[in-house]
Amino acid sequence: METSLFYLFGAIALIAAINVVWQRRVFYAALSLIVCLSTLAGIYMLLDAPFIAAVQIIVYAGAIMVLFLFVIMLLDPFSRAVHVDKRRFLAFFAWILGATALLLLYPLLRSYDPAKAPQEVLLPAAALGSVTHFAETLFKDYLLPFEVTSLLILVAIIGAVVLAKRQT
C-alpha cells in the first residue's frame, strides 16, 4: 500500500516537475509546480512527517505559489517565452548535463547504507511524527537559528517593500 502510494505520488511529482521545465507559458509552469508541491506533501505523509506535509501545503503550495501567481498575473499572463532564443541547441546540452549529473549521483545514492549510520539517537516512529517532539527540538536545540530566522524574514520584508516601491 505504502509503496504503491509512493510510486503514484512520485510519478505525478516527477511528471509535474518536468512539465515545469517543458512548459513555455510561465503561468502553466507555476500551476504545474503547485501540483508537484502537493504530491510532495503526500510523500512527506508517507515518510512520517505530518507537520512538514501540512506546512508544505499551507506555506509552499499556498502562500509562496500565490505570491508567484500574483506577480505573473501582474506582469504578463499567458505570455509565451519572452523571446525566441537563437541558440536553442544549448538547451539540448543542458539536458545532457542533467543526465550526466544523475549518472554520477546514482552510485553515490546506491552506496548509502542506513545500517552503518550512527544509531545512538534512536526515536520510536510515533515520536518521529509527533508535533510535540518537533516543537521541543525546534525551541530547545534550534532556538537561536529560529530567532535569526525571524530577523531574516524582517529583512526580506523591508527589502521587498523597498524594491517594489515605485520610485518617484
Binding site: T3, G10, A13, L14, A17, V20, V21, V26, A29, L33, L37, L40, I43, Y44, L47, A49, I52, V59, Y60, I64, L67, F68, V71, I72, L75, D76, V82, H83, D85, A91, A94, L97, G98, A101, L102, L105, L109, R110, Y112, A117, P118, L123, P124, A125, L128, H133, F134, L138, D141, Y142, P145, T149, I153, V155, A156, I157, G159, A160, L163, A164
Partner: protein
C-alpha cells in the same frame, strides 16, 4: 519504499530543477525551477530524518521553507523592478553588470 527510492526521487527533482535553471530564459520561470531544486533537497532531508530516526531533518526543512519564502519575496520584487525599468523579463536582457 526504501531509502533508496526516496533519494532517487529527490535527486531527479533536483536535477530537473537544475536543468530548468540553465534552460529557462524567463526570470520567473528560473525562480520556479529554483523552488523545484529546494524541494528536491527538502525531500532528501525528510527521508534521512525518517531512516535515521531523528527529527532534526524536519527542523532543517522548516528553515529551508522560511528561506525559500524570503527568497521568493525579494526575487519577485526584483523581477517587478526589472520589468518596470527595462520592459523585459528575459534574463539575457538584464546584462547591465555584464561588461
Amino acid at each position: 519504499m526504501s531509502i533508496f527510492h526516496c533519494l532517487i526521487l529527490s535527486a531527479l527533482l533536483f536535477t530537473v530543477g537544475a536543468v530548468g535553471v540553465i534552460v529557462k530564459k524567463n526570470i520567473i520561470a528560473v525562480f520556479l525551477c529554483i523552488e523545484l531544486m529546494l524541494n528536491g533537497v527538502n525531500l532528501s532531508f525528510v527521508t534521512f530524518s525518517k531512516y535515521l530516526h531523528q527529527v532534526n531533518g524536519q527542523v532543517f526543512v522548516f528553515f529551508v521553507m522560511v528561506v525559500a519564502a524570503a527568497e521568493a519575496a525579494v526575487g519577485l520584487a526584483i523581477a517587478l523592478n526589472l520589468h518596470r525599468n527595462r520592459k523585459t523579463l528575459s534574463v539575457d536582457d538584464a546584462d547591465l553588470m555584464k561588461w
